[in-house]
């Protein structure tokens, strides 16, 4: 049987590096695993914090994701290490959401996550930059208020660019459910933003 890793090793230097690190980690090299952690911790945190807009909870979810990845290194069956880690992080984020549902505390903070704010472009018009920033701020606040399932589906589809089938696979629901969550999520966002739609229409 063809080794999946062998087909991908030569393609992408980043992937080649990831596979080598993972291979060494599987042989017991903790430094190699920690190198992988360093490579992907920022990306995974940026991903998870959009699904779990509480930075502490998001951090815990990412930590749990790396624990899980370390425990389950043996289950990696080739392909992209980044995608594998992303899937684990998304699952950890969903676990955190479920835990939060069982023990509801306070609503998500609205403005803690600055990753929604686009970086300021030096050449951009200050008015445009300000308007874009305000749009993102308002959008972020609204996203924090919709349901976890809807937010997860919207983040994965609209922001991260996964397709319906991929999201269905990651979240363990049908494609129809994913679509419905996205559409209902957008309707909820519109209801929350109805008084501020002027800044989006402009």
């Amino acid at each position: 049987m063809e080794d999946l890793r062998a087909t991908t090793v030569s393609d992408d230097p980043v992937q080649r590096r990831d596979l080598m690190l993972l291979e060494r980690a599987r042989e017991g090299d903790l430094t190699a695993f920690n190198d992988l952690v360093v490579c992907y911790q920022d990306m995974l945190f940026a991903l998870v914090v959009r699904m779990v807009p509480d930075r502490d909870q998001a951090s815990d979810a990412v930590q749990e994701a790396f624990f899980s990845a370390y425990r389950n290194m043996g289950s990696f069956r080739g392909g992209s290490v980044k995608s594998w880690l992303s899937r684990i992080a998304i699952n950890a984020a969903m676990d955190t959401q479920r835990l939060r549902k069982r023990r509801p505390s306070e609503p998500y903070p609205e403005l803690e996550d600055e990753t929604w704010q686009p970086p300021a472009d030096a050449s951009a018009d200050p008015v445009t930059t300000s308007l874009t920033s305000e749009r993102h701020r308002v959008l972020n606040a609204a996203l924090a208020k919709i349901t976890d399932d809807q937010r997860t589906a919207i983040v994965l589809y609209d922001v991260e660019g996964y397709d319906y089938a991929e999201i269905a696979g990651m979240t363990g629901v049908s494609v129809g459910t994913v679509k419905s969550r996205i559409h209902r999520g957008r309707l909820s966002l519109r209801s929350l933003l109805i008084d501020r739609m002027d800044i989006f229409r402009g």
Binding site: R26, L30, F33, N34, V37, V38, Q41, D42, M43, L44, F45, A46, L47, R50, R55, S59, V62, Q63, F66, F67, Y70, R71, N72, M73, G74, E114, T115, W116, P118, P119, R135, H136, L139, I154, D158, V159, E160, G161, K179, S180, I182, H183, R184, R186, L187, L189, R190, L193, I194, M197, F200, R201
Partner: protein
Amino acid sequence: METAGHEDPALAIAARHALHDEELIAEFATDGDAVEDAERARSLIERCVACRDLHADLVAIGGMLQAVEKAETVAATQTAPRDFRLSIETANRLRPGSAVLRLRDRLPAAIASLSRPVGMSMASLGVVGLLLGTLTLGGFASLGSAPEDNGGVTAAGSTPAAGATAGPGEVTGPAATPLGSMRLSFDAQATAAPATAPLPPAVTEGVPMVRGGSTLSALIVAGSAILLIGGVALLTLGSRRREPVPGR
């Protein structure tokens, strides 16, 4: 015009729009012509002002969401608030495929922590069982010997339904045990009956019960002795394990 002249046009639009499928509009705003019922969605958007506004808003929101940077892009400029690298201790704890090894490592400690309370419980049960067994055995033994002293007839002490014992002499018998005291009360009632009266069958049926009871008591004593020995052994084992091992 579909609405009556005296109605508020905005109200009429809202009333009509309430019957429209907003999710279909949302689907159309996301997937466009790929939607199965795209024709109906387009028709709604053309005919209904509220549907048109909804569609425009949803397209704007979708565009805004898609303009948000991907996590990978964000990671290039922003760092996570924590370092998620694993320490050696954590890695050892999480080591893949080491469940059996971890269990093996933890087993002695688990045994040590359990052996003392379990041993104590077993020893206590053993002592109590020994006491009870000895007492009941003594009681049955005296019941078993009573018929010889009193013409071979007695009632089982544990079966008050048997009615009465034959001889008044038993009143002065070994009444120190609970069974003995029970027997004493029966005997006191029985003194009213003449010693030579024919015995009912229920009285003579008690004899095998005495034998069975004494066997049970003997079993209790033996079991209790085993419990006591096991408990003491566990206690000793637990005490030894708790002693610090040199070199650790």
